[in-house]
């Protein structure tokens, strides 16, 4: 289940089509010596790499998520952010991971943040929108909660903790706070919002902690990749290692698990 919830991610300045193609293959062939494994939920790339990923994935069920809105800082104009988003969608992105303007948020310009999310949501068209709060820059749980509420009400399909570029990222406290915001919204409206903790969840054990939290706060219906994702690059191999261990009773060397 964990594997199927992963957004396999590469978001680096040095990303190349080659790197993205390799990752896309891995996304569908996590560990072929263990038959029957599901693919990951999505690959997460920069807008310029969306077309490459689209080609590499073909008709696969693996979705393409693209970061946008001047990721990771979000320091750009509304026009550029909308264009950024449209570019990714036009090239075949199924999902958009946008960042909020943390500077504006901390200035108290909450309507600006709200309007921006709403504008990007419109630009997304059919693509699902994940809103990255970058909780490491919001600093307090009160801020996290308020940003969650703003994102949800502005039209987010998912709320997401972090870009992965700032520490701390997806801590249990932050994820819990965001899950509570989702729960309160669901209790009031009956509308489900997805959750994506990203950054720092690199082991199967941490993933399990998160899943238990989701189950206990939101319930079983959230335990699918439609409503819950892990933003992670190294989690998959740890889960694979644990799976192989349950198969064989022995831990294998990390060298037996492909790094793409």
């Amino acid at each position: 289940m964990v594997l199927n919830m992963i957004d396999l991610t590469t978001l680096e300045g040095k990303d190349t089509p080659g790197k993205v193609q390799q990752m896309c293959y891995k996304a569908q062939h996590l560990h072929d010596s263990l038959p029957g494994l599901p693919p990951v939920a999505a690959v997460c790339v920069y807008p310029t790499m969306v077309a490459v990923a689209r080609k590499a994935l073909g008709n696969s069920s693996v979705k393409i998520a693209s970061v946008s809105t001047a990721f990771p800082s979000g320091q750009s104009t509304r026009e550029i952010k909308i264009a950024d988003t449209k570019f990714a969608v036009d090239h075949g992105a199924d999902e958009i991971d946008m960042v909020i303007s943390r500077g504006k948020f901390l200035e108290g310009e909450y309507s600006f943040v709200f309007d921006e999310i709403a504008a990007i949501k419109e630009a997304c068209g059919k693509a699902r929108l994940k809103v990255i709060l970058e909780t490491g820059e919001l600093c307090t749980l009160d801020h996290v909660r308020m940003a969650s509420d703003i994102a949800i009400h502005a039209g987010a399909d998912f709320i997401k903790t972090s870009t992965g570029k700032i520490q701390p990222a997806a801590t249990m406290q932050v994820t819990y706070t965001m899950l509570m915001a989702i729960k309160d919204y669901y209790d009031q409206t009956g509308i489900m919002i997805g959750m994506k903790p990203a950054g720092g969840i690199s082991t199967a054990k941490l993933a399990l902690h998160n899943l238990v939290m989701v189950k206990e706060v939101l319930g079983n219906q959230w335990l699918t990749n439609e409503w819950f994702r892990f933003g992670a690059s190294s989690l998959a191999n740890d889960v694979l290692m644990q799976l192989m261990k349950t198969e064989s009773g022995l831990y294998q060397s990390a060298d037996y698990f492909s790094i793409d």
Partner: protein
């Protein structure tokens, strides 16, 4: 784990049972009285069984002390006081107390398991709260033993002599520590009686006291029922009675010691108010409400058993509270996942059920979580009553179980008046984002302890005790010493 090939793997995960092992504990079949650092057969020749309230199995037979046995214990304590304990320096006393604290820590796991077996409280609490706090009380008071003149400035600190101490069954080891540690630090000797349903950890503590080399007779532990307690209260050579328990027994003790030289401290019942304002962090407050009333199955004298919620957030708070109650695990106290363990005794379960039926008869609306409870042993589902007022019996009398009553209020004056409208005054909780409101309330609530944005938080440094019929005298902190000094 088999290969997972489906898009919809099962999400019906249940926690596997995770019981703490009992293999490492040592329990005797029969326990004698601990007098003069020796195990003494009771002259009554009588023993009574102590049971595990979660299974109703007998754990051990416990000696039942009569007047003659108590007299023997008091004589031993007097002799130890006169010959040894009043003569050695505070620093020396401190060394013994430190040693006891360290030995308790070393055997913390055994203490936690035995406490859970004998009292029914979840292992999570005995392991994380009762035992570490009990050790901390010894550590804390050990530090005071040679600094008493700073605790009571402008006075020469002098011990009282022999202290008779009677403790309840809700926190057996912790209450023993609350009583013994300050008494020893202040230079008194002790005759302690644990509650009849929970003698075991006090007797294990006696083993440590013996092993620690504490001079014989400084701490004596006599077990038994109410008659044993009465023998301590009425013994003419006792200088001080410290009692924690019900208000009824407290009143009896007060009558019995009237006109004698005995000093007393009484820590009695409570019906404490937990107050939620509309600006409170609601989710945290809900956790606080749960902790306030369901901690230790509600067997807590300062339990937040009267909940006051501001009317404009009442629906929200009650809805969240009910959801949270559904996620509480009720069952095997030894299981590390268990939130609510067993009710301490059959008698107490009957009392609780009696109050629940009164609540229903009074027309209050009852809600119990939808959990299953074991068929054997004494268990009670977490319960709350809504639609109640100050005039309901269930909001007036102490239930001492996992039963919460919820009232709403509109204004701050109204809630202060209602919170104080009780013969008790042990504790209160206030939940609000506003600091000035907290200070306003803490000065107006007639309660010994007021917690702000938390509940049931204990520390050896902080004094604890009641107003009105919740008793008098303070335990813990520097204040706890004056109860044992002239």
């Amino acid at each position: 784990m088999a290969k997972k090939n489906t898009a919809t793997p099962s999400t019906e995960w249940n926690y596997a049972a995770s019981p703490e092992s009992t293999a490492h504990i040592r329990l005797e079949k029969k326990y004698q009285l601990f007098i003069n650092n020796e195990w003494v057969t009771p002259s009554s020749k009588k023993y009574f069984p102590t049971i595990n309230p979660a299974t109703e199995d007998v754990l051990a037979e416990i000696a039942w002390a009569n007047d003659a046995d108590v007299d023997k214990a008091v004589k031993a304590a007097r002799k130890a006081y006169t010959d040894v304990w009043s003569k050695i320096s505070g620093a020396e006393r401190g060394k013994y107390i430190y040693r006891i604290a360290r030995m308790m820590q070393e055997r913390a796991r055994e203490f936690a398991v035995i406490e859970t077996l004998d009292s029914g409280k979840p292992i999570r609490e005995s392991r994380d709260v009762d035992v570490p706090l009990a050790c901390n009380h010894f550590f804390y008071y050990a530090g005071w033993a040679d600094k008493l003149e700073y605790a009571v400035p402008h006075k020469k600190p002098e011990a009282l002599g022999v202290a008779g101490q009677i403790i309840p069954w809700n926190f057996p080891l912790l209450m023993a520590a609350w009583k013994i540690a300050p008494a020893l630090a202040a230079g008194n000797t002790v005759v302690l009686k644990p509650a009849e349903t929970t003698s075991l950890t006090a007797l294990k503590l006696a083993e440590i006291i013996k092993d620690s080399g504490l001079p014989a007779g400084v701490v004596n532990i006599v077990t038994g029922y109410g008659d044993t307690g009465a023998a301590i209260v009425n013994h003419p050579d006792i200088d001080k009675i410290a009692f924690t328990g019900s208000t009824n027994v407290g009143k009896m003790i007060q009558r019995a010691v009237a006109g004698t030289h005995k000093k007393t401290t009484l820590e009695l019942g409570g019906k404490s108010a937990n107050i939620i304002f509309d600006d409170a962090p609601i989710d945290q407050a809900v956790e606080g409400i749960i902790n306030g009333i369901f901690f230790n199955q509600g067997h807590v004298c300062c339990a937040g058993s009267r909940l006051f919620v501001q009317e404009n957030v009442a629906d929200l708070v009650i809805r969240k509270l009910k959801t949270r109650m559904e996620s509480l695990y009720v069952g095997d106290p030894l299981d590390k996942n268990t939130d609510i363990g067993a009710i301490n005794s059959k008698k107490q379960l009957e009392t609780i059920n009696h109050y629940i039926s009164i609540g229903k008869a009074e027309g209050a609306e009852i809600f119990q979580s939808d959990c299953s409870i074991p068929s054997k042993g004494f268990f009670c589902k977490p319960t709350l009553f809504t639609g109640v007022s100050q005039s309901h019996v269930i909001t007036q009398e102490e239930i001492f179980g996992p039963v919460l009553t919820i009232q709403t209020f509109r204004t701050i004056d109204e809630v202060i008046q209602k919170a104080n409208n009780t013969p008790y005054g042990l504790a209160a909780g206030v939940w609000t984002d506003k600091g000035s409101r907290i200070f306003n309330l803490t000065t107006k609530l007639r309660a010994g302890v007021v917690w702000a944005n938390t509940y049931n938080k204990f520390d050896p440094v902080s004094p604890f005790g009641g107003y009105k019929e919740s008793g008098f005298g303070r335990e813990g902190g520097m204040h706890g010493l004056s109860a044992y000094l002239k």
